[in-house]
Symmetry: C2
Subunit: 346 residues, 2 copies
């Protein structure tokens, strides 16, 4: 019998339909092909893109030259542009805004053939630091309300280049999904006087461990109770914090370990599936200091990993429901049992 | 320069990014393959699925025998089941409901090799009547709040069988997307004392025609101002009505003409693209008669067609923004200029 499950943050209902339940080998897709290198993101090709915005690099090496470990560049085909004023206009009965924002690429390694999951934890921590630096920097621009950091891995998850990279887009409005999480978390807090994410962490790491994928002292990776996609996983900091930018040095390393392990488990269990991940954090605090003080208590930043193993269809688009054929408890058991690190994307 | 456009109903922002603008031949996908017949949905195969719920059939022919033009069957792999009581339960801190609902298949023709767009208008009108009959019937079941009618065409749009069919799913909660439209339409009405959809129809058919794809006396097909996908089209009844079930006989024919023409134009312009369509109508009126009386004025049923030419990615999933590389004005111009009916899916 299938179940309707309610996401405790967003209030969104998900249909868990285990009658359609599938073993990992019944749901996984053919192995994704990699483009051969070198490409524009490779170490040694810096002259092809001399607009480095930030880099973690060896002491004494110059901007736009080799010697970097992580490098941030403007996206060459930005969906929103950094130049120009934010103008709001009416068009007949409709409303529009100029497409002002920022769209950047975080190149996670100078090596062409490694995936994020292949990198040493210290290197992944550098990637996380690059996220923090860029988010911090863009927060100084009054035109922006939010920065979404995300990664598309594999063609079916929207990636066009296979050299490992993430992206960020800064937007002049707070994205709808983020607003919905903020509102949901606020309502829960008003009712319970507790953070809903802290309650989820307690439920999943201490009261029951049936949806726990992996944890260390600082972070937990779980299959969310109302997972929208098969093998979806969320990584949450155990220490309450609404703001990703406030991540500490040791948390960068702690997150790197849990992220690497979770991605390796996904790869091992599901034949290197296409996936997206994204970070949800509090919006920039400028406009409403009072609002911010409430967000500090009720919101909790986190990273969501969504494998792309099913196809979108009319029901999902028209209803906003998600249909997930793999119960989160089953997905968590498979991932928890999969050893990290034996497989490789090569 | 890209633009942010606000959907006037949902309030959702869409990024129209014409720097990435693409001619139809740059965005279209390889031609989709059809499965060879006969299949379980074909005329003559009725013994394989003897659970006919409704059919439009020749006088004197018996249930579950040939002679039908449109036939409705229970889905063999339902995501929600008709049997059982609706039970709400807590699971630790979480909420769930039993997966009660209905999941049906509307087989649009006994012929294996025709698409919906190939059928005569009178036959398409029968399909629309079948939608109306089933929605009406399921409205008698107290457990259901809504029936979503939808069609998946092509593998990339989620179809698993290529014999032309649509589906419906009855749900025990009003879907989130429908709620958002209802709330948005209500807010607009409170502010303007007019139906937002009636205003859109006036804007697109009388004030400007730059987003008009096709119209007849009863229906208009438009590229919505804040289209979330390239070549998205909405079909709206010109006569205000919140309730698809109240569609008249002549409107069934009028809708059939506009739907067929629009689908043929999409096929001709875009090499038979994968698409979804869905009907948004008012939820069943039982629970709140007062609420219903407001919906009658402020909501307006419609059909949304969403071609699947782009891949979902992390930004869209994490933000709720859509990125559309084809401005709706460009899409409407291409579709308006494409002759319907020269191409065929064969």
């Amino acid at each position: 019998m299938s179940e309707l499950r309610r996401d405790p943050v967003m209030g969104r209902w998900v249909i868990i339909a285990p009658e359609r339940s599938l073993r990992p080998d019944q749901i996984m897709l053919p192995k994704q092909e990699r483009q051969s290198g070198p490409c524009v993101f490779c170490g040694g090709q810096e002259a092809l893109d001399p607009n480095e915005l930030f880099a973690v690099r060896a002491p004494g090496t110059a901007r736009n030259t080799p010697g970097w470990q992580v490098r941030v560049l403007p996206n060459k085909f930005p969906v929103l542009r950094i130049e120009g004023k934010l103008v709001r206009e009416g068009v007949g009965m409709f409303d529009m805004m100029t497409g002002v924002g920022a769209h950047e690429v975080i190149v996670e390694s100078p090596e062409h053939d490694l995936d994020l999951a292949d990198l040493p934890e210290e290197q992944i921590a550098h990637v996380i630091r690059a996220y923090r630096e860029r988010m911090n920097d863009l927060g100084g621009d009054d035109r922006f309300k939010y920065v979404l950091i995300f990664k598309n891995h594999g063609y079916l998850a929207g990636a066009t280049l296979s050299h490992t990279h993430s992206q960020l887009i800064a937007t002049p409005v707070t994205p709808k999904r983020v607003k919905e999480e903020l509102i949901g978390a606020q309502r829960y807090y008003e009712f319970k006087r507790r953070c809903v994410f802290c309650d989820i962490i307690k439920q999943e790491t201490r009261l029951t461990r049936e949806r726990l994928v992996f944890e260390n002292g600082m972070f937990a990776a779980i299959s969310p109770f109302a997972a929208r996609a098969p093998y979806e996983a969320w990584i949450l900091p155990k220490q309450h914090s609404c703001d990703f930018v406030a991540i500490t040095e040791s948390e960068c390393l702690g997150l790197a370990q849990v992220l690497k392990t979770t991605l390796l488990k996904l790869r091992g269990a599901l034949n290197d599936p296409p996936f997206n991940f994204l970070i949800h954090t509090a919006p920039f605090r400028r406009p409403h200091p009072g609002y911010w003080s409430s967000i500090q208590h009720d919101f909790h930043w986190h990273l969501e990993i969504i494998p792309r193993l099913t196809r979108p269809a009319g029901f999902e688009e028209g209803s906003g429901f998600y249909i997930n054929p793999v119960p989160p408890e089953e997905a968590a058991a498979v991932l928890a049992a999969t050893p990290p690190g034996l497989d490789s994307a090569q």
